[in-house]
Symmetry: C2
Subunit: 340 residues, 2 copies
């Protein structure tokens, strides 16, 4: 394999605000021959996720930043083409953090087998992968929805939000989605079975949300922040729980919003309504990954868990697709089909 | 008793911003003769607490507002002077929400006996009352300090903060206080045994706090908000817990602080550091009241729990003392001695 050429997308320069195409660079490199314990894989699907925006900045987030000229990190579903690890054989489908490239070599023990009988292998980047486990663990550990409660989910048609609302329904709660277009809202209601879904781009968004949460909001699963959060906030009930999973509206911001400073209002709400805000990432609940995946697979089999993928062909199209993701242009879990 | 006159302080008009003397009015009224099941008491101590500011506003907080011309509410230690309830006899000391007045009549079942052998009866408004139980339940249920962790407490010389820091030490954590004067800080360190205490009015408050929290902050017990919170915030460790008990700095505010709006920074911190903010009031943990009081009494007996009371004589001085409380002029638990 070592005579084959790898194509990869590296971080060319750090973005200021919204990433541009020139922040990325497509390069070629030699394929790395696996050493003892390693596995060489060909990328089939590359997962694009909002957290990657944070990794493009220099500052420490919960994970170290991608370095300049380093390949962009990311989850990938690959097929083993050479294995020096006893756990995997040539032809196996695996999930690993291979990054934005066509070939990658990783320690076998860092990889997980993907069962193509269970569901399409691309789902290992979505409902049966990090986003699905994020939704499951964040909603159940922090949100703790009870029968009859109202769960509001921002970015409801996205990889995480879509799973959150469906689990809320499975657990006997009402699920109200928030999404960025009428088409997405239709999908969230009709295909995902949410009780309702509100388009945050309509002029009377606040009134519509209120009308659809007539008994207030008990759980707000936060993926978005900003105006969506400010609209949700007055509807939160006493003792509401707010798993903070993402604040995509702020990821491209170069400055703070103008005043007044609303922090005292938020703190007052936390106090008076006895709210719980808790941030998390999926690794915080690593011990529950197996349980989450087993439940999610079961629900898919039972027809209780639907999902939608937004598949873009070609590694070279990853930067544009990623830029669109941060603006909500994707519709469903965004995946790059790097090879077939 | 019905020929005796009661003096009471009523809410004369609602304050805008900082309360003024004219928001209160001292009135006389007839003493109410107790009916079957009721007890008539003479107030000995009246507790003044920051939460009362919220009750002076018209808007719903976690408790309904005091109405205009209604007696100001508040916890009181009284002595029974007439009892039509089998549980109490004339001469008994009891705690109840008698309000800002010299005599009050309440249902016997709403009252608790105060044991003058256990500690001075005034402590039923402080370390052995609502503030002590607030500190105990908020710190242990939400803060969950672990051995060796750093617990920072705002308003550290106050009724709640002083107990929080001492419990943190008892549980093996480091306690760092924040208070409003050098004299208070000296007391917090020397009498309460905190590891350190920082005066938030010194110019290099942020540097001093950082220097005294060299391993970051694991628990921040929030009583204050505003600038103190903004200074604490960058020092919070991953997975820090923030029990939100009060935000006294905002209680008198008539408008929000100027911009920029710092809410996205707070949400980003919650996400990236996986913080837990949870608001609470003491009633949320009512089931633990007995346990809390028993532990606190034990610690007082063992010399592990000190307290300080700021006793002001005369019901007529309650308004001025309360106005001072909101500005941090008290030093220790503020109590009005209404009669001896």
């Amino acid at each position: 394999m070592s005579n084959k050429i790898n194509r990869k997308i590296v971080l060319a320069k750090r973005p200021v605000g919204k990433p541009q195409i020139e922040n990325f660079h497509l390069e070629e490199s030699q394929i790395q021959t696996p050493k003892e314990g390693q596995v060489l894989c060909k990328t089939i699907f590359l997962s694009l996720d909002p957290y990657m925006r944070g990794r493009m900045n220099a500052g420490k987030s919960y994970a170290p930043p991608v370095e300049i000229d380093e390949v962009m990190g990311g989850g990938t579903v690959g097929q083993v083409i050479e294995s020096k690890y006893s756990g995997f054989s040539v032809g196996d489908f695996v999930f690993g953090y291979g990054g934005w490239q066509e070939f990658w070599t990783l320690q076998g023990k860092e990889l997980k087998k993907v069962d193509p009988q269970l569901a399409p292998i691309s789902t290992a980047t979505g409902v049966l992968g990090m986003p699905g486990v994020t939704a499951y663990t964040g909603l159940l550990n922090i949100g703790q929805p009870k029968v009859g409660e109202t769960v509001v989910v921002a970015a409801a048609s996205g990889a995480v939000g879509s799973v959150v609302g469906q689990i809320a329904r499975i657990k006997g709660a009402r699920a109200v989605g928030i999404a960025g277009s009428e088409e997405k809202c239709k999908y969230v209601k009709e295909e995902l079975g949410f009780d309702s879904c509100i388009n945050h781009n309509i002029p009377d968004f606040a009134e519509a949300l209120k009308a659809n949460c007539s008994e207030g909001i008990d759980v707000y699963f936060e993926n978005v922040g900003g105006k969506v959060f400010e609209t949700v906030s007055p509807l939160l009930n006493d003792f509401a729980r707010i798993p903070v999973c993402g604040i995509i509206s702020a990821y491209n911001a170069t400055e703070l919003p103008p005043g007044p400073n609303l922090t005292p209002l938020l703190m007052r709400d936390i106090l008076v309504k006895r709210l719980t805000f808790r941030g998390f990432i999926v690794w915080d609940f690593a011990a529950q990954e197996k349980e989450a995946l087993s439940e999610l697979a079961k629900w898919i089999k039972e027809g209780k868990m639907n999902y939608r993928e937004d598949i873009v062909d070609g590694l070279e199209n990853a930067p544009e697709a990623f830029i669109g993701l941060l603006e909500g242009k994707n519709f469903g879990k965004l995946v790059i089909r790097v090879s077939s």
